[in-house]
Symmetry: C2
Subunit: 228 residues, 2 copies
DNA sequence: TCATCAAAGTGTATTTTTCACACTAAAATT
DNA sequence: AATTTTAGTGTGAAAAATACACTTTGATGA
């Protein structure tokens, strides 16, 4: 019958969690309480149990280690370099998640000194091969955001067009023309204008919008392709 | 110190190998000699050894099971459904490869009855969750081919513009205007026209071209983005 | 050798999309 | 009442995408 090697790599998952605070794209990192890489920042991660899929493991870790649940999550890449973990051979299936920073109060779970948001433009040193993982995740997000309406996952349920524009500018790292941006986005028919405006802002108050998932599904069925 | 579950999933890899015969997009499948799924067609696959990365394992399997070496290969996705293999828990890191069908004489490796190219429009029943894997690979190829010059990997070193066009039509499943296609492709400056034409064809002979990898790298550095 | 067949190769006009650009309106603050 | 700050809005020019048809060439076979 079948033969396989007696020894097996351990299987783990690491999560790249993106957030947006209105100005900058941020990453959720944990400061490690234990060796290896004690005191160093790293991605939330952990082993995949025998009875769960890698995606279930990633979701569990999001919750256990950062108190985050019910967010956009997608598989990123599987990292399998032999020495990526100094303890033993660990293959890691990395996921990335998109979160509204305002939506969760961060918790520091087991074995972590603190949890914190770090701007991707100024990350601390990271343990393991997490710099590589992050770098791939950022590339992927930059690519994805242009042809899939995932940016909304980083904002609150309701948002102004200016917030949305600031988000795209932060991710794509280049300025966007206000009028052209609004024309294109509104033209797609994916945004519902709400009967509600900003409150108590020292300027003209902007209307809130929300992303119309139903309309998106309908349009997609008809062959519509989102593209920024 | 660290604790992990005593039992670990086995780690394997499966390879989706695309080929193109001038008219249709094809998939390399192996007919299994042993249970489970005896006599059924399936993707070439195998376990990942303790001392090799998943990519190295995929390349080894390409060679051992199909006699294919030195081709374009890229990680596709990691499949981890609990029951995807009836024997035991096996997590599989899937890869996809692009091959010129004329370049290799297929071999049937250990435990396989035969190896064969199957048009993606008429695949046989597949074992395990390989139908899912293939389906994701096809989607990925369709997406990728539009914004990365990977199509060339499916053709011989030298090819005619008509062959290239036929390839894109086969992958994208829609007809392309000859003049516009040539205008765009040649305009990119990625194709070198060779001093050589087709021989013994019962019609006007077409020039051969080759993909200019060096030019592509140069252009990419300057911010060029391939897009069909 | 002449006619036939099949695909190679080539340019222009139209439509669509993208891009650049500047002022008035509204809400809070002083 | 004046100031500050961002919201909201349209047009014209440039670039890109699309639609479209005939002549050339090489082998085949009558």
């Amino acid at each position: 019958m079948y033969h396989y090697e007696y020894e097996r790599p351990a299987l783990a998952t690491d999560c790249v969690i993106f957030g947006f605070d209105g100005a900058e794209l941020k990453l959720l990192l944990l400061q490690r309480e234990k060796a290896p890489f004690r005191d160093t920042w790293a991605l939330p991660g952990g082993f995949v149990y025998m009875h769960e899929t890698t995606e279930a493991a990633a979701k569990r870790i999001l919750l256990e280690k950062a108190g985050i649940r019910n967010v956009f999550i997608e598989q990123l890449y599987t990292f399998s370099e032999i020495d990526r973990d100094p303890r033993e051979r660990i293959v890691s299936v990395a996921y990335f998640a998109l979160v509204s920073t305002t939506q969760f109060r961060l918790i520091a779970g087991r074995d972590t000194i603190q949890a914190g948001w770090h701007p991707i433009s100024a990350l601390p040193q990271l343990g393991f091969d997490h710099r590589n993982i992050v770098s791939l995740a950022v590339d992927r997000l930059r690519g994805k955001v242009r042809y899939q309406p995932v940016g909304f996952e980083l904002l609150d349920e309701k948002f102004t067009l200016s917030q949305l524009q600031a988000l795209y500018e932060a991710i794509l790292q280049n300025p966007v023309d206000k009028r052209n941006f609004r024309k294109k986005l509104l033209g797609m028919g994916l945004l519902k204008q709400l009967d509600e405006k900003e409150q108590n802002v020292p300027r003209k108050a902007a209307f809130y919008y929300s992303f119309d998932k139903k309309a998106y599904k309908e349009l997609t069925k008809k062959g519509f392709h989102f593209e920024l």
